[in-house]
């Protein structure tokens, strides 16, 4: 079970907005500072706390920079539920052990700050009690996520 404070977005949120390129660095303090760089709506960006992002279509489109996902993870993002994902963002999230799940019309389920829970194939808003079904994950990605990311998965399966 994953739970966290809701961060709510619309469609086509790109990685330059989530994490501007000038926060690309080998220094993790710099990477963390860039969290939600161009998105004024996230007012608790300084805090590291459990978060669940809900978003519309094509979340995380744009650059492949994995520092975006690293910053999200450092700031506490544990799951992202969107109508659809930019392909590379989806892979980056799952490879780093952050659940990237899809569901139709998900943005209406929460206001910013609500507590959201992801359990199995359901997303629930703890405040309103509303719950929606998530699309099932492909078995391969499910195994990657279960292992905690791609490298742990490859280690467990003996590939590396």
């Amino acid at each position: 079970m994953i739970s966290g404070r809701a961060v709510v977005f619309g469609d086509d949120i790109n990685t330059d907005m989530l994490h501007p390129s000038y926060f690309f660095s080998l220094d993790t303090t710099t990477v963390r500072k860039g969290f939600m760089g161009e998105l004024a709506s996230v007012d608790d960006r300084e805090e590291d706390l459990p978060r669940v992002i809900v978003a519309g279509k094509n979340f995380g489109c744009g650059s492949s920079r994995e520092t975006t996902m690293t910053a999200l993870k450092m700031a506490g993002v544990r799951a992202v539920v969107a109508e659809s994902f930019g392909r590379i963002f989806f892979r980056n999230a799952m490879c780093l052990g952050v659940a990237a799940r899809t569901a139709p019309s998900v943005t209406g389920i929460a206001d910013p700050g609500d507590v959201l829970k992801v359990e199995g194939d359901r997303l629930t808003n703890e405040r309103t009690g509303r719950s929606i079904a998530l699309h099932a994950l492909d078995p391969y990605w499910s195994a990657v996520l279960e292992a905690g990311g791609l490298i742990p998965y490859l280690t467990e399966t003996g590939a590396i």
Binding site: D11, D12, N14, G37, T67, I88, C95
Partner: protein
């Protein structure tokens, strides 16, 4: 894995650059395993080479130490290039961009290599770390759309106009996870390779997993001019019974110059809808638009003229080969005389990486691929995306201008 759509694939080539490869160096070293296939690596220092800050110098250093330790481009085989241009451009200038092969890259615009008939797609650093260690990755068979170019190419239409038309057609995510297949069925002169590269480059910007051109005589001539031997006995044509989710066609003779309005590469209009806005900078560069086609167009429009007063014209060739050819053709002289600065081949201002960043409130016309808020500098700067021809017209007049009004 039973029930999974995803299957293991062994890529023929792994493309990487200083920024995204540097992120995996420590994790690779800590694992203590050898490279699965050093000879298949194509590693390029382009983003931070030469570096413009100490932080970026450190990124580049980590990458270079890795490349040297493993002997890439030397004893271990593979390719290593530094300060010779953008990785995507260097790959397509190389015989290693083999038609029909599978290319994975640690950068979203890896899709560009599909202009030569390769399956090429981008990934993040952990995915790439796994390829370095295992030699394999997981992909699934995408569904496909087809985009057919018809008609006779008009004098003012460039590959960038077609790419922006594609962005308008699909939106930023409309081709999500699909393969986009392009075919030149025009009459008269074919769509030039430089323009084809722009289309596969931007396929990722409407969400596609890859973009791929059906190879033709022009592809073959281009590949052979790069020293490649055209693959024999490999059928590179689409299956006769191929199924497409959708087939689009565009008349390359009737398209107006296209321009993407901030802050989305898919917010595209015909240029006459937005002409007249004051422009402070023009950027001609990037993997999407720093090739000879753009530089030639700019030189043609600006030869013997001056750029608009107070306007900055920054030209960043996509590679040293482009730089040298433009120099030998005299185009760089025309541009310098007109007031342009020519920077070293690299990613340059695209991605806010190097010279040519934008101030608060500035307006830029750029030949690059993304105009997201903050991508090229201050978050209030506004970037319009257009062809080199349209960008040069703006440099000449200081305003967004239909290039047909100023073409000789």
């Amino acid at each position: 894995m039973p029930g999974s759509e995803w299957f293991e694939v062994e890529p023929d080539l792994l493309l990487g650059h200083d920024a995204t490869i540097a992120l995996v160096v420590d994790r690779f070293a800590n694992a203590g395993k050898p490279l699965a296939f050093p000879e298949r690596l194509f590693l390029v220092a382009d983003h931070f080479a030469p570096p413009s800050s100490v932080d970026r110098a450190n990124v580049l250093r980590r990458f270079l130490d890795f490349v040297e330790e493993h002997g890439i481009g030397a004893s271990a085989g593979g390719t290593f290039e530094m300060m010779r241009g953008i990785c995507h451009q260097l790959l397509v200038e190389s015989p290693r961009c083999v038609p029909g092969s599978i290319v994975v890259g640690a950068d979203s615009h890896t899709t560009m290599a599909g202009a030569l008939g390769a399956f090429a797609t981008g990934m993040g650093s952990t995915d790439i770390l796994a390829v370095l260690q295992t030699g394999t990755t997981h992909l699934r068979t995408p569904t496909s759309d087809k985009i057919v170019m018809r008609g006779s190419l008009a004098d003012h239409v460039r590959g960038k106009d077609l790419a922006l038309w594609m962005m308008k057609t699909y939106g930023e995510g409309g081709a999500g996870w699909k393969a986009l297949e392009f075919e030149d069925q025009t009459s008269g002169r074919p769509i030039p390779m430089d323009g084809r590269l722009t289309l596969t480059n931007m396929a990722v910007d409407c969400g596609a997993v890859n973009g791929i051109w059906v190879p033709d005589e022009l592809t073959k001539a281009f590949y052979e001019s790069n020293g490649g031997e055209w693959p024999k006995g490999v059928d590179l044509a689409p299956d006769r019974d191929a199924v497409y989710d959708a087939v689009h066609s565009v008349d390359v003779g009737a398209l107006a110059p296209q321009i993407a309005i901030p802050y989305s590469p898919a917010n595209v209009e015909d240029i006459d809808d937005v002409s007249g806005e004051r422009v402070h900078q023009v950027f001609i560069g990037s993997c999407a638009g720093g090739r000879l086609e753009e530089i030639r167009d700019a030189a043609m429009l600006l030869h013997g003229q001056r750029v608009s007063p107070y306007l900055k014209l920054v030209v960043t060739p996509a590679s040293q080969a482009v730089y040298r050819a433009a120099m030998e053709a005299g185009w760089l002289t025309s541009l310098i005389d007109a007031g342009a600065v020519i920077t070293n081949p690299s990613c340059g201002a695209c991605g806010g990486i190097d010279k040519g960043l934008l101030a608060a409130g500035e307006v830029c016309v750029s030949t690059s691929n993304r105009n997201f808020r903050g991508r090229m500098g201050d978050s209030t700067a506004r970037v319009y995306l257009a062809s080199g021809l349209t960008a040069a017209a703006a440099a000449l007049t200081g305003r967004i201008t239909d290039p047909r009004e100023v073409m000789p």
